[in-house]
């Protein structure tokens, strides 16, 4: 079995963010392995351990994203592919899907896993776009994922609008993963030491027959703004009975939602 996991390096979304004159600044330039990618790596490792095989991680990003590949390898992935792109500004889901599709078009694999979205943009399109470009069956938003050797299929439990759907997806296929499916392992010292010896292939856009201006997905971000400010709320005080009366009165007469 070969599981390929598309991973992404993202800014730490928990760090404070400011918007100034339409541009975005953060107090830290700390970059991390996207949490959904990490769950996809973890699940691939679990399946490879159970059924035999290897996990390869694939990342599109600048030189400094190499540390994120190393982290996934330290978790247990066998090898990495770094599609090197120094300037990732303005890349949309369509662009990532185009680059990844060019890479995977002459690769062999049983399943490609991606995060269901990434923590920075929450767009959640790249997986489905990549599957469509490669002509693969796929399922998005897996909260549970197993491989079934008898049917040569991935058994996906996806979170639907009401309830969870269990879907058998024949390999080769693509599945996008939620971070609800597992707790990604923290690499140990041994894994970190080993990761330095493992192979990371570096690939350029030119190697894939692509150029920077040919890959856009047709969307662009022209700037950022703050969320519309919420009106400052009311803090109610008193004992339980009193609080309940005040709230009912406000919901009824002020918010008019009763």
């Amino acid at each position: 079995m070969k599981f390929c996991v598309c991973i992404k390096q993202v800014p730490d979304v928990s760090a404070p963010i400011q918007v100034k004159d339409g541009t975005l600044t953060q107090d830290t330039d700390r970059m991390v392995l996207d949490a959904y990618s990490a769950s996809a790596v973890e699940q691939a490792l679990v399946m490879a351990e159970k059924h035999g095989g290897e996990v390869q991680v694939v990342l599109v990003g600048p030189e400094k994203a190499r540390e994120t590949i190393r982290k996934a390898i330290a978790m247990g992935a066998e090898s990495g592919v770094h599609i090197l792109l120094d300037d990732i500004s303005g890349l949309d889901s369509g662009a990532y899907a185009t680059i990844l599709a060019a890479w995977f078009s002459n690769q062999e694999y049983d399943a490609i896993l991606t995060g269901k979205q990434s923590q920075d943009t929450d767009a959640g399109l790249t997986g489905g776009m990549l599957a469509a470009k490669l002509g693969l069956p796929y399922s998005a938003n897996a909260v549970g994922l197993e491989y079934d050797p008898a049917s040569s299929a991935m058994i996906v439990r996806r979170q639907g609008d009401t309830g969870q759907e269990v879907i058998e997806v024949k390999t080769p296929c693509l599945v996008t993963c939620s971070n609800d499916m597992n707790d990604p392992r923290i690499p140990g010292l041994k894994g970190i030491m080993m990761s330095k010896k493992k192979q990371v292939d570096v690939v350029s856009l030119a190697d894939l027959g692509l150029s920077r201006d040919s890959i856009g997905g047709g969307t662009s971000v022209s700037g950022y703004e703050n969320l519309p400010a919420r009106e400052p709320g009311k803090k109610l005080e008193g004992d339980a009975e009193d609080l309940a009366s005040q709230l009912v009165n406000l919901l009824d007469n002020e918010a008019k939602v009763i």
């Binding site: 943009t121 309940a244 919901l251």
Partner: protein, 326 residues
């Protein structure tokens, strides 16, 4: 004349409220831009919805009837929508951003080599595509995002627009759809419905969400009682889902579902950013928490500092009276 095509999601014989919200907004955008407003509905019995769609202003309605639409599966939805889109060549294809839509939009946009702008808080149709505002970075800021092209896909967060009526009479077109189930490479085996799924979180006007402050069955019962009063949906923070007390389907947040009901009760929820990302656009937010410094109070319309176990029983009683008198 160009066309704005709105995808109409149905569930249990009803059109989802979030789809009517998007349809209403698209109607206004169609008017401004001189476009026709069209709707497409895939269902086992799509003709039963055309009256409602006319009421909300769809002047062209495309129906695709097939038993496979009883439950969600991405391949037939993609194939059927692709057939309709191919036929009508819309300038904009708009969806409510549901879990089902997240399973089809990327692949569908790729099929038409069209830009896709997902999960927006608002959008405007322009001469060459659309301009939208999208929450990003854990919904802490909005990105001004444009999609440009002859055809652009967009999905809209529920609660972003009001569903408003504006009746017209529509031209109805039934689109034939022969689907070979035998050729499917993905097969729906089972749908697991949890007890908390009685009311769809994305559709509910009132959501009562539990956090770690809800510690036991007694607390859970109070949450359920409060939700039942409003025929509301039950939600939960990730940490309380992890205890096993609430079903994973109820999880609200950046990871779980994003909701924006008219009234949101945060019961014993501290308000971590990941949770706030999933509920901050609710119209009225009531927070009950023991800790007066809990971050949830930065977002609440009405903040009640105190013990939920003491506050909820009299609150439920008084709300019941108030609703009976309303």
């Amino acid at each position: 004349m160009s066309l704005i095509l709105t995808y109409i999601a149905t569930s249990d014989g009803k059109i989802k409220r979030s789809s009517l919200e998007v349809l209403s907004h698209c109607r206004e955008e169609a008017k401004k831009n001189g476009h026709t407003l069209a709707a497409v509905v895939l269902d086992t019995d799509p003709d039963s919805f055309t009256g409602t769609l006319e009421k909300y202003g769809a002047s062209a309605i495309y129906t695709v009837k097939n038993p496979i639409f009883k439950n969600h599966l991405n391949t037939p939805v993609i194939e059927a929508l692709a057939a309709v889109i191919d036929k009508v060549k819309p300038a904009v294809v708009a969806f409510a951003s549901t879990e089902a839509v997240k399973d089809v939009m990327g692949a569908l946009a790729t099929r038409f080599d069209a830009p896709a702008v997902p999960d927006v808080a608002s959008f405007k149709v322009t001469g060459d595509g659309l301009d939208a505002l999208r929450p990003v970075m854990a919904s802490k800021i909005l990105a001004k995002t444009s999609g440009k092209g002859d055809m652009v896909f967009v999905s809209v967060r529920s609660g972003s627009y009001d569903a408003t009526e504006s009746p017209v009479s529509a031209e109805l077109t039934s689109v034939p759809f022969d689907f070979d189930e035998g050729g499917l490479k993905n097969i729906l085996k089972e749908v697991i419905k949890a007890s908390g799924d009685k009311v769809d979180l994305n559709e509910a006007r009132v959501v009562v969400a539990a956090g770690r402050g809800v510690k036991d069955d007694e607390g859970k019962k109070l949450v359920e009682e409060l939700a039942a009063l409003f025929n509301g949906a039950i939600g939960a923070s990730r940490s309380v889902v992890e205890t096993g007390m609430f079903d994973p389907s109820t999880q609200i947040g950046q990871t779980g579902k994003v909701v924006s009901p008219e009234l949101y009760f945060a019961i014993g929820i501290s308000g971590a950013i990941q949770h706030v990302a999933g509920m901050v656009n609710s119209k009225v937010i009531v927070a009950i928490n023991k800790d007066e410094d809990a971050p949830i109070f930065q977002y609440s319309t009405y903040g009640l500092v105190g013990d939920l176990y003491k506050i909820l029983p009299p609150l439920i009683e008084k709300l019941r009276e108030a609703r009976a008198n309303a």
